[in-house]
């Protein structure tokens, strides 16, 4: 893996730590990650995109259990990963934790939880972000 700048990670911290999305105040659509403009309202939305905190609650649209991972995630296999549809609308790809892989199901209600995602070896940066767990 090529060495990456730390800035590449920290500029995404609001999204990855707190699930900050944005909303087009022209049509009301919500986006995650935040967009520069609304793909539907186009130029009318410029300067009218408003940051919003997403609830982190949603349901599983589809999932898989990863058995063969890239080097960064090899120590975590097997792990479930899913596409979650947030209650506000946007869909998001994340790991599902705090349950057995075989318990993950389509339409299962889940909520976000702040976790360690991976680290760059024993001396590199530790990356944090969202994972999802069954709704309590």
């Amino acid at each position: 893996m090529m060495k990456e700048s730390v800035a590449r990670f920290w500029r995404e911290i609001p999204q990855r730590y707190n699930i900050i999305g944005n909303k087009c105040t022209v049509c009301g659509r919500v986006f995650f990650p935040p967009r520069e403009s609304c793909p539907y309202c186009r130029r009318k939305s410029l300067g009218k995109m408003q940051k919003i905190q997403l609830s982190g609650k949603g349901k599983i649209v589809t999932y898989t259990i990863i058995h063969s991972a890239t080097e960064d995630f090899e120590d975590q296999v097997p792990y479930p990963i899913a596409i979650v549809e947030l209650d506000e609308g946007p869909r998001i790809t994340a790991q599902i934790v705090d349950c057995k892989p075989e318990d993950v199901k389509i339409d299962m209600r889940v909520e976000s939880t702040f976790r360690k995602i991976r680290q760059d070896g024993s001396t590199g940066a530790i990356y944090y972000g969202y994972k999802f767990r069954p709704m309590r």
């Binding site: 893996m1 995404e12 990855r16 990650p33 649209v61 589809t62 999932y63 898989t64 259990i65 990863i66 058995h67 063969s68 991972a69 890239t70 080097e71 960064d72 995630f73 090899e74 975590q76 097997p78 792990y79 990963i81 899913a82 596409i83 869909r91 998001i92 790809t93 994340a94 790991q95 892989p101 389509i106 995602i117 991976r118 990356y127 972000g129 969202y130 994972k131």
Partner: protein, 388 residues
């Protein structure tokens, strides 16, 4: 627009080719295509090279010029351009070559596709393939490339009752075809039981649901139709070229189990060719995973949405079926050197339309389609060809 024909084809063996370098592979495919067409270096107006990730696979970018040099054309100073669109790089290169002739800028171009994937370790190859996905919002969280197609499969099974056996039957069919293809990486048959019992990669996909990591190159010579007869008695006309894009991450798509890029590229291509899916006699589709072939035959309109699994079960897509799909063995058995794939698909269709596909020959094949996808469906390029 001018009409464009394929007048030459050349391909290397696909596989783990330890004794062959990137340069040797592309030079071999290119020279075969040039000999097949009966042209010389001075006849070539431009080169287009499809390569997904030479930078990560062999640490070499700038491969447009490298290929021209490796082919021995440096003194001719031929314009050489590398095209990238993940696993659709080869198909996109074909389209660029096609457009350059159709527009009247060029008369004869060589289109090459290549990937040398085995010069890095397996884990690095997996990581490089994952760059076709969204690095910030998919791969960062641990999604792998097979994982994305596995999520398409999970949802397809949920929505349409598609089974793991039906997925396995795609692999069985493509291996049966690959066994008849001298250039295929896997020239052996597999059974449904073997596919189902293979080690899991990303549930519900196992190792035999996945296309392999491959080395290989493919090249074709394209020529303005009005000049094609000077070189060959059997030109194969490109009657349509369609391309479309979609969201980079899978989670952004309108529908998880439909590749809208395929739907739109197909619509564009069918319209240009003035044909319907029923007119297609043979098709090469992008089966990077078994589920991908099921989605492809649905999204191309060969079968109704949701009926892809059933169609495979009913042998509609076998060599002697209603619409033979992946007669070459597909990415699954022929191999998938990513940048080469889109060009190799055209070669299979040309062989079928020339009537030179030997044991894989589809009887009376007149119209063929090649479908090449990038990533989990963010890019799609489709060509339709016709025997003259």
């Amino acid at each position: 627009m001018r009409e464009v024909a394929v007048i030459g084809i050349g391909i290397t063996k696909f596989g783990e080719l330890w004794d062959k370098s990137f340069r040797q592979l592309i030079a071999e495919a290119g020279s075969k295509a040039i000999f097949d067409a009966g042209i010389e270096g001075k006849d070539i107006d431009a080169l287009y090279i499809g390569s997904m990730s030479s930078g990560r696979f062999i640490g070499q970018e700038h491969v447009g010029a490298l290929v021209a040099d490796a082919a021995g054309f440096s003194h001719l100073h031929i314009p050489a351009t590398r095209i990238e669109g993940a696993c659709a790089s080869g198909g996109l290169a074909v389209r660029q070559g096609y457009l350059s002739i159709a527009s009247g800028v060029n008369d004869i171009v060589v289109v090459g596709g290549i990937e040398k994937m085995n010069d890095v370790a397996g884990a690095s190859a997996t990581e490089t393939l994952a760059t076709a996905a969204d690095q910030e919002w998919e791969a960062f969280f641990g999604a792998t490339f097979p994982g994305l197609y596995a999520m398409i499969a999970t949802r397809h099974m949920h929505d349409y009752g598609t089974t793991k056996e039906q997925l396995a039957q795609v692999a069985v069919k493509n291996h049966a075809n690959g066994a008849k293809n001298p250039y295929a990486q896997y020239k052996f048959e597999v059974t449904v039981e073997q596919v189902m019992a293979a080690v899991p990669v990303a549930h519900p996909l196992g190792l035999l649901d996945c296309s392999p990591v491959s080395d290989g190159a493919a090249a074709i010579v394209l020529c303005a139709m009005d000049k094609a007869k000077e070189f060959t008695d059997k030109p194969v006309k490109i009657i349509a070229s369609g391309q479309a894009s979609d969201t980079l991450p899978l989670h952004g798509r309108r529908d998880i189990t439909t590749l809208d890029a395929t739907v739109h590229a197909a619509k564009m291509a069918y319209k240009q060719a003035n044909v319907t899916p029923k007119d297609i006699d043979v098709a090469e589709v992008h089966d990077c995973f078994t589920i991908a072939e099921i989605c492809a035959i649905e999204d191309l309109g060969f079968v109704e949405k949701g009926k892809g699994g059933k169609a495979v079960e009913e042998n509609i897509t076998t060599l002697d079926g209603e619409i033979p799909v992946n007669t070459s063995g597909g990415l699954k058995a022929k191999g998938h050197p990513v940048g080469a794939t889109g060009v190799a698909q055209i070669i299979e269709i040309v062989e079928q339309l020339r009537g030179e596909a030997d044991k894989r020959q589809v009887e009376d094949a007149r119209i063929g389609l090649a479908h090449n996808v990038g990533g989990s469906g963010a890019t799609c390029v489709i060509h339709i060809l016709e025997a003259i």
